[in-house]
């Protein structure tokens, strides 16, 4: 997983990987997650915006690190619920 680079087959430009996509995206990061830090989520968001994709992104407060999403996270539930409903 550490060696996977989505941008590599696209001249190193992440936005090109998403070119022409019609998929809706939602990214959620947690303040204390060191495995998938917010800065990396923002890089994906930036690339999706550059590709004109429909993207949502929010960084949520949590002291529980990478496992925060497994615990009760009402704000995350609210976001995911709204995102899924909009696609239904």
């Amino acid at each position: 997983m550490d060696y996977f680079d989505l941008a590599a087959p696209h001249d190193g430009v992440l936005a090109k990987a998403f070119a022409g996509t019609t998929t809706r995206f939602a990214l959620v990061s947690f303040t204390s997650d060191w495995l998938y830090p917010t800065a990396e989520s923002r890089r994906i968001v930036r690339a999706l915006n550059a590709a004109g994709a429909a993207v949502s992104f929010v960084e949520l407060e949590s002291p529980f690190g990478h496992d925060a999403f497994l615990l009760d996270a009402p704000e995350m539930n609210r976001v995911v619920d709204g995102f899924l409903r909009a696609g239904a």
Binding site: R46, N49, A54, S56, V58, E75, V79, F83
Partner: protein, 195 residues
């Protein structure tokens, strides 16, 4: 749903089915209204996580971010209309943000509180104090508003950035008012700008 009067004035300027980016979209009230009544392709940016969560919960595509930093990520002409409602005065670099708005969208709708309103002037002239009014409810040390301007200031800024004013609406006490003496009598202004 009844929309705040300034937001209703903005909504009037948005054409049916437009691709819209609302910068400083708050909880997405305006975007949801535009999606439901005008079928727009609605996108938003807001700094507050709680606001973004509320907007996404409404089914909107909204990104937590900062207009000062994040607008350069969007390609040229990505949108038909960029909306900046009640946010310009909170920007670090308002002129640069205006430039970005008309780069990523053909038209920009900008609303802001008018610092030239008589109540604001009165507070400074007679009270000797920074104004706390209906449209500027927070005291100077707590307000996110760091770059106030009057309607005439805004017109000058738009002109120096080479922007054309397509239309303007003025509000006072939650109602539209005429353009006459707007710099003195309007609490809020809504401008539609084009390159």
């Amino acid at each position: 749903m009844s929309l705040r009067p300034d937001l209703a004035a903005i909504a009037d300027a948005v054409p049916q089915g437009a691709r819209v980016l609302d910068i400083g979209c708050g909880d997405g009230a305006l975007l949801a209204h535009l999606r439901d009544t005008k079928g727009v392709d609605a996108r938003g940016i807001d700094v507050s996580a709680a606001n973004v969560a509320s907007a996404v919960a409404r089914g909107l595509s909204v990104v937590q971010g900062d207009a000062d930093a994040d607008l350069p990520d969007y390609p040229d002409d990505a949108f038909d209309m960029a909306i900046l409602s009640d946010t310009l005065q909170a920007m670090q670099r308002p002129a640069a943000v205006l430039d970005q708005l008309v780069r990523i969208a053909r038209r920009a709708v900008v609303s802001f509180p008018n610092f030239g309103h008589w109540r604001v002037r009165g507070s400074l002239v007679f009270g000797g104090r920074m104004p706390v009014t209906r449209s500027l409810p927070v005291s100077w040390h707590e307000t996110p508003n760091i770059h106030f301007c009057t309607i005439d200031d805004f017109r000058e800024l738009a002109a120096t950035r080479g922007l054309r004013v397509e239309s303007a609406a003025f509000l006072s006490g939650g109602a539209r008012r005429s353009a006459g003496l707007a710099n003195l009598l309007a609490e809020q202004a809504v401008f539609v700008l084009a390159r």
